[in-house]
């Protein structure tokens, strides 16, 4: 590291072997006088505190010391004050040591370590194991997983409480009932026409149409601002959880797009209020009114399901602005067949179309919707072949069956002895008169709720450093597939090919990278690495950001995944994450980015021109938006995010009691957030850290809270006009940049720092633990290999999956 991007970041790497800690001189000079052998103010002797940060004996006191120095409380005013640089250094050193200690404690591995499956992994695993679809995120199912810096699979975070046990038990019951239903569940089909959906059968309306001599059929006009039923629990007749599964949906519809306005966007999902729903299905309806199309897709439903249509647009007819409008349009006597016949049929109703017949609002015209399901594929059924013992099975056959199931489920060989308790519960069910299969299911329940299933278990009673073949197979498959190993991988493990000499491991990894299940890695990893869960946590104020809606937000979230997929599939360099002249966008995003509208709906690769000011992850709407608070952008949070996601470093936390940034007083000139932060940071204590963080975020000041390009910052209160934004800055090592574009160029110069951080993120994800200084050597080896592979993404993932660290506990 000859050239340092950030002195702070570099200084975080503190040599472990140093005899004297680099912060000792500062403590000696400024602290020990009052908190030492001579005086012991506040009962604190800093010279006597434990320097063993790994054990963390005095961790809270060290934390307190950082806090007091950071906030300027210490040293007290009457004493000699340290300089800004001295403060910065001592805080960085102390913070790094505290953090290392914490990381070591978080990464500590007892001889037998247990890493709980995340909800997502549980879902994938039961699907691969039994061909069963089960949604653990449904309210009342599995608890949400706690995240550590975005990662939701960190072993030390995923703990277990009684409520988890209850829920795992219920989940296992559900899964088994779906795998082995009491009687087979036949797929059913239901179609609802516009007349049924919108006009209670439409007989009265038909009379009306006949009177006018109108021959066109009734259509349902769906306008933005009011949800309507798309699937109701009673439509299929008796419907229960046993009908959950994959459903095929067909919709015949067309869209109305106002001139210059948004294409009609239809969202189907659970109703959240009278004008919004969850996004289970998202569709741009581009078919024009005279050429309706049949849209078809498949979706997994937990039944009974109650779903609603919602036309998502920024311009909506809501209760406040258009209560009357809304009511009139929703009544059964508002009859719709065709734009050209609307005035005739509804002479007194509010206008939905102008004189030329153009729509005023983006709307959807629905002809019918059809649901068919649950559909089960042959492959899904095949997973269960041979799992069910015959009704006449002997106890030995039962034991054999259970053993085979347990080996699949626990992802390793299982001895008969281990299964004794489960066979006992089988026997006790039998003894109270239950049939063979009913009793056997209790044993299956035991195996499915066992720690051996819900946790990835690594290690033995006798400590060892290397993983076994079985443990490695499991780690690889949860890294690349977010699920259990398949047969080929288990076979390789059984034959000892993964840890042995030869290219067994590489061969398996290459096979896994080429398997479609790699998409689960692509779906899971980027979101966790980039902390995408924060997007929309504070929904943007509709008044301040009228162009924002839930479809834009969903599109932003998807863009990140699609982009990652494209880089992965084409094995492009990591540089593409920092900058590129393309992205993968849908029409909604193209409109948002000011790009020409693509002909097709859906996500597709599109090019940026220099004047578009975009390229790479950092200028994506989703990334820029995730650090905002709903009303304003937050440059410091953006800076911290860049530091974590790109450099893998978390800056020291701010002191607790910072004076708030006040609203701009009406009588003073309008000021940007940057100007206010800068006033803040004149204090040496603040500046010590903020000079390292803020530039990383301020570089993106030309993008507002939702990631829109701007040249001036909107300030509501204050005198004068809105102030211009300033995206320039200087990195701590003195390199200056004028704007985001130049900032990204500097990041590219530091690509080796990014590469290392990226590998650490991947390893955290793979190993389900925090990476520590002890892993340094293994990480460096992957870095070297990745450089040889020209920083290409898929090669980096391969390098991690075949590395030394992946084979170590």
């Amino acid at each position: 590291m000859t050239r340092l991007c950030l002195t702070l970041l570099a200084s975080l790497v503190v040599a472990l072997s140093s005899a004297e800690e680099p912060f000792e001189p500062f403590l000696e000079k400024h602290c020990v006088g009052c908190h030492g052998a001579d005086k012991e103010k506040g009962d604190l002797r800093i010279d006597a505190l434990s320097r063993d940060f790994k054990l963390g004996i005095d961790g809270h006191l060290w934390g307190e010391i950082v806090e007091r120095i950071n906030s300027g409380e210490m040293p007290p005013e009457e004493e000699e004050q340290p300089s800004e640089n001295e403060i910065a250094e001592v805080i960085a050193h102390l913070d790094a040591r505290i953090r290392e200690g914490r990381a070591a404690r978080m990464a500590a591995r007892p001889s037998v370590a247990h890493y709980r499956l995340s909800r997502k992994e549980y879902q994938n695993t039961v699907y691969d194991l039994l061909g069963v679809r089960y949604d653990p995120t449904k309210p009342g199912e599995l608890n949400e997983d706690p995240r550590w810096h975005g990662f939701e699979r960190i072993g030390s975070e995923l703990s277990l409480a009684p409520s988890h046990v209850e829920r795992y038990y219920r989940a296992a019951e559900t899964v088994l009932t779906r795998a082995f239903p009491e009687k087979p569940v036949e797929p059913r089909t239901i179609r609802k026409t516009a007349a049924e959906l919108r006009y209670q059968g439409g007989e009265k309306q038909q009379v009306y149409l006949d009177r006018f001599g109108i021959t066109r059929p009734l259509r349902a006009l769906m306008f933005p601002g009011r949800v309507q039923p798309a699937l109701q629990p009673h439509w299929f007749g008796q419907t229960g959880p046993e009908h959950s599964g994959l459903y095929r949906v067909k919709i015949k519809a067309s869209g109305i797009r106002p001139p210059g306005g948004q294409p009609a966007h239809l969202r189907i999902g659970r109703k959240t209020d009278e004008q919004s729903n969850d996004g289970l299905i998202e569709l741009d309806i581009l078919a024009p009114e005279n050429e309706p199309e049949i849209y078809e897709f498949e979706v997994f439903l937990e039944m009974p399901a109650d779903l609603h249509f919602n036309v998502v647009a920024t311009d909506i007819i809501d209760r406040q602005k258009g209560g009357h409008y809304r009511n009139a349009l929703s009544k059964a006597h508002y009859v719709f067949t065709h734009t050209s016949e609307t005035r005739l049929l509804n002479p007194t109703a509010p206008k939905m179309f102008d004189e030329e017949g153009n729509g005023i609002f983006s709307s959807v015209l629905l002809d019918w919707i059809e649901w068919e399901g649950p559909i089960e594929s042959k492959a899904e059924q095949a997973t269960r072949v041979g799992l069910r013992p015959g009704d006449e099975a002997t106890p030995e056959e039962i034991a054999g069956h259970l053993q085979r199931f347990a080996e699949l489920t626990w992802r390793r060989p299982v001895s008969k002895d281990e299964l004794t308790p489960f066979l006992q519960s089988y026997e006790s069910e039998r003894s109270v008169g239950e049939g063979v299969f009913t009793a056997y299911q209790v044993a299956l329940l035991g195996v499915l709720t066992s720690r051996n299933f819900t946790y990835l278990v690594e290690g033995d009673v006798v400590p060892r450093d290397q993983l076994t073949d079985w443990e490695l197979a499991t780690r690889l498959s949860y890294l690349l597939w977010s699920s259990m190993p398949d047969k080929a991988l288990l076979d390789a493990a059984r034959e000892g090919k993964l840890t042995g000499e030869g290219d067994g491991l590489t061969a398996q990894v290459d096979r896994m990278l080429a398997d479609p299940k790699i998409n689960r890695f692509i779906d899971d990893f980027p979101g966790q690495w980039l902390q995408l869960h924060r997007l929309g946590m504070f929904p943007p104020d509709r008044k301040l950001y009228p162009s924002y809606d839930v479809w834009l937000e969903a599109s932003m979230r998807e863009e990140v995944g699609h982009y990652f997929r494209e880089v992965f599939a084409n094995n492009l360099s990591l540089d593409s994450f920092i900058h590129s002249d393309w992205t993968v966008a849908n029409p909604r995003l193209c409109d948002f980015y000011g790009l020409p509208e693509p002909k097709n709906s859906g996500f597709q690769r599109v090019s940026f021109r220099p004047q578009d000011k975009r390229g790479g992850l950092l200028t994506m709407g989703g990334i820029l938006g995730l650090t905002s608070d709903g009303t304003r952008h937050r440059p410091v949070h953006r800076g911290v995010w860049v530091s974590e996601a790109i450099f893998g470093k978390t800056p020291p936390p701010p002191p607790a009691n910072v004076d708030p940034i006040e609203p701009n007083p009406p009588e003073s000139p309008k000021a940007t957030i940057r100007q206010k932060i800068e006033a803040h940071a004149e204090n040496a204590n603040c500046a010590a850290c903020h000079r390292n963080i803020d530039p990383l975020g301020l570089a993106f000041d030309q993008f507002d809270a939702i990631g829109q390009w701007r040249t001036h910052e909107r300030v509501d209160e204050g005198k004068g006009s809105d102030p211009p934004v300033n995206p320039s800055g200087t990195l701590p090592d003195g390199r200056a940049f004028a704007d985001a574009k130049e900032f990204k160029e500097l990041l590219l110069e530091d690509r080796d720092l990014f590469l290392k951080a990226f590998i650490e993120h991947l390893c955290t994800y793979a190993l389900r633990r925090v990476i520590t200084v002890d892993d340094e050597e293994d990480i460096e080896a992957i870095v070297d290999e990745s450089k040889k592979q020209a920083y290409r993404l898929k090669d980096i993932v391969r390098a991690v999956a075949t590395s030394n660290i992946i084979q170590r506990r």
């Binding site: 550590w148 409480a161 035991g446 504070f538 104020d541 009691n657 609203p663 009406p666 509501d716 209160e717």
Partner: protein, 451 residues
């Protein structure tokens, strides 16, 4: 059932005999037959209500300490409850300072918030450890967005329920499958849990005394689940309470959250009903997560509380925030009225045995000020709480409220004047009143003198 027949299972026979509106009709359980049955103490109850994003603190702050205080604008709906409420000023969670909206996570725990810090048990769950052996349900978590205020000892948030019909069914409706089928299901569950425990114990024995990490936690969780399964089994013989028609109508319905007032009242009615029937003695109600506090369409307020709290000094926004605050206080006042008019099984008002804490983990939302937290404690006279004063912990630590100098007051809401006035002290004191035997909770440093 012999394994659960302990003193903690004593149930006051009078509970079974009195019928007042909604009542529990308890059969004569074995566990009620005890020489000491007549000495069974009165139930003790607690409920915690959270409003997100703090308040318009300029219109909220009461400025005089002690008995002779005047209610502020937004607290004025509590005037009629003066004798049973105590507004408290000056509290803060040291672990919440500077942590913005995460304050909600530690409101009832007093935990720390940091990348490697894990949350700790919330006070309601601590209380439930003591009260749950006597009730069918451990505790009740209501949360309009699903994220409850309750946390387990391992720092895991308990899921909350948002729909009144769902809560009603959970508390009061007999599962359709019937007692025999339920009992069979519970026995199966017990058997499965047992086989898992046995499998783990084998490994545990091999491991000896070394660090067992997750294993120990797993064992505890499974064991605790087993105990709860046994309790649930015992409760199968106790019919669910029959609910008076008027109460059923009031609570067993789905109110959309867009009808905010109605929604609040339905939730409060449910809590009253849960307490009245002794379904549980501990409840939490989160009326919004920090990012999505309810808009109040009936007052013409379309913004979430988060949007309002970042008012940027705009007088119109601040006025709306005050209206939204006052609205939330009005609903709380409704709740207190309901608790006061509803009779406990011994004929005394429910409010006497119920402590209700209302507040936020933030004071000044615009700048995320997490000190001088808006807090109102009510009820619980039977547990020894005395009311009637403004309990001001800022007093003696500052030079008075200066509401005409907003910056001055906002600073008080961001930096604690009295650094010793930990919110955990209040939580500790409440826990003690509930019968939790402990001398500390979270980062408490003393008890509060609440009478």
């Amino acid at each position: 059932m012999s394994n659960i027949q302990t003193q903690s299972w004593l149930i006051d026979r009078r509970h079974a005999l009195r019928g007042l509106g909604s009542f529990i009709a308890l059969p004569l359980l074995d566990c009620m037959n005890s020489a000491r049955a007549s000495e069974v103490p009165k139930p003790k109850r607690s409920v915690f209500i959270y409003i997100p994003n703090g308040v318009n603190t300029l219109d909220y702050q009461i400025t005089t300490p002690g008995d002779d205080y005047t209610f502020s604008k937004s607290l004025s709906p509590l005037e009629k409850h003066r004798s049973i409420v105590t507004p408290i000023s000056g509290l803060h969670h040291p672990g919440g300072l500077g942590h913005h909206h995460n304050c909600q996570k530690i409101w009832l725990t007093g935990g720390k918030l940091g990348p490697t810090d894990r949350n700790t048990i919330s006070v309601d769950q601590k209380m439930a450890e003591v009260t749950s052996p006597q009730t069918r349900f451990h505790s009740l978590e209501i949360a309009n967005k699903g994220e409850s205020l309750a946390w387990t000892p391992d720092g895991i948030r308990l899921p909350g329920t948002s729909r009144s019909s769902e809560i009603f069914a959970y508390l009061f409706e007999e599962p359709k499958s019937g007692t025999a089928a339920q009992r069979r299901a519970l026995r199966r569950k017990g058997s499965v849990l047992d086989s898992n425990l046995e499998e783990v114990r084998k490994l545990e024995k091999k491991m000896g005394a070394e660090d067992k990490g997750r294993l120990a936690q797993y064992l505890n969780a499974v064991r605790e689940t087993e105990i709860r399964t046994q309790r649930a089994d015992a409760w199968l013989d106790v019919p669910r309470p029959s609910i008076a028609e008027a109460d059923r109508k009031r609570t067993n319905r789905d109110v959309p959250q867009t009808q905010a007032g109605d929604y609040f009242r339905a939730m409060y009615d449910l809590i009253v009903l849960a307490f009245q029937t002794d379904a549980t003695r501990v409840a939490t109600f989160s009326s919004g997560v920090e990012g999505q506090g309810l808009p109040i369409p009936e007052l013409g307020i379309s913004q979430s509380r988060h949007e309002l709290s970042h008012h940027n000094g705009d007088p119109g926004h601040m006025e709306k925030l005050t209206q939204s605050d006052t609205f939330a206080v009005e609903q709380f006042s409704y709740f207190l009225s309901r608790l006061a008019e509803t009779k406990d099984l011994d004929g005394r008002p429910l409010i006497e045995t119920t402590m209700a804490l209302f507040g936020s983990g933030m004071a000044y939302g615009h700048s995320h000020g997490n000190a001088n937290l808006p807090t109102v404690l009510a009820g619980g006279a039977g547990l020894g709480l005395k009311h009637g004063r403004h309990f001001d912990l800022n007093e003696g630590h500052f030079d008075g409220y200066k509401l005409d100098d907003p910056g001055h007051h906002y600073r008080l809401c961001g930096r604690p004047a009295n650094t010793e006035a930990h919110m955990s002290n209040l939580l500790l004191t409440m826990a003690q009143k509930m019968g939790v035997e402990t001398d500390h909770f979270g980062d408490s440093n003393r008890e509060l003198d609440l009478g």
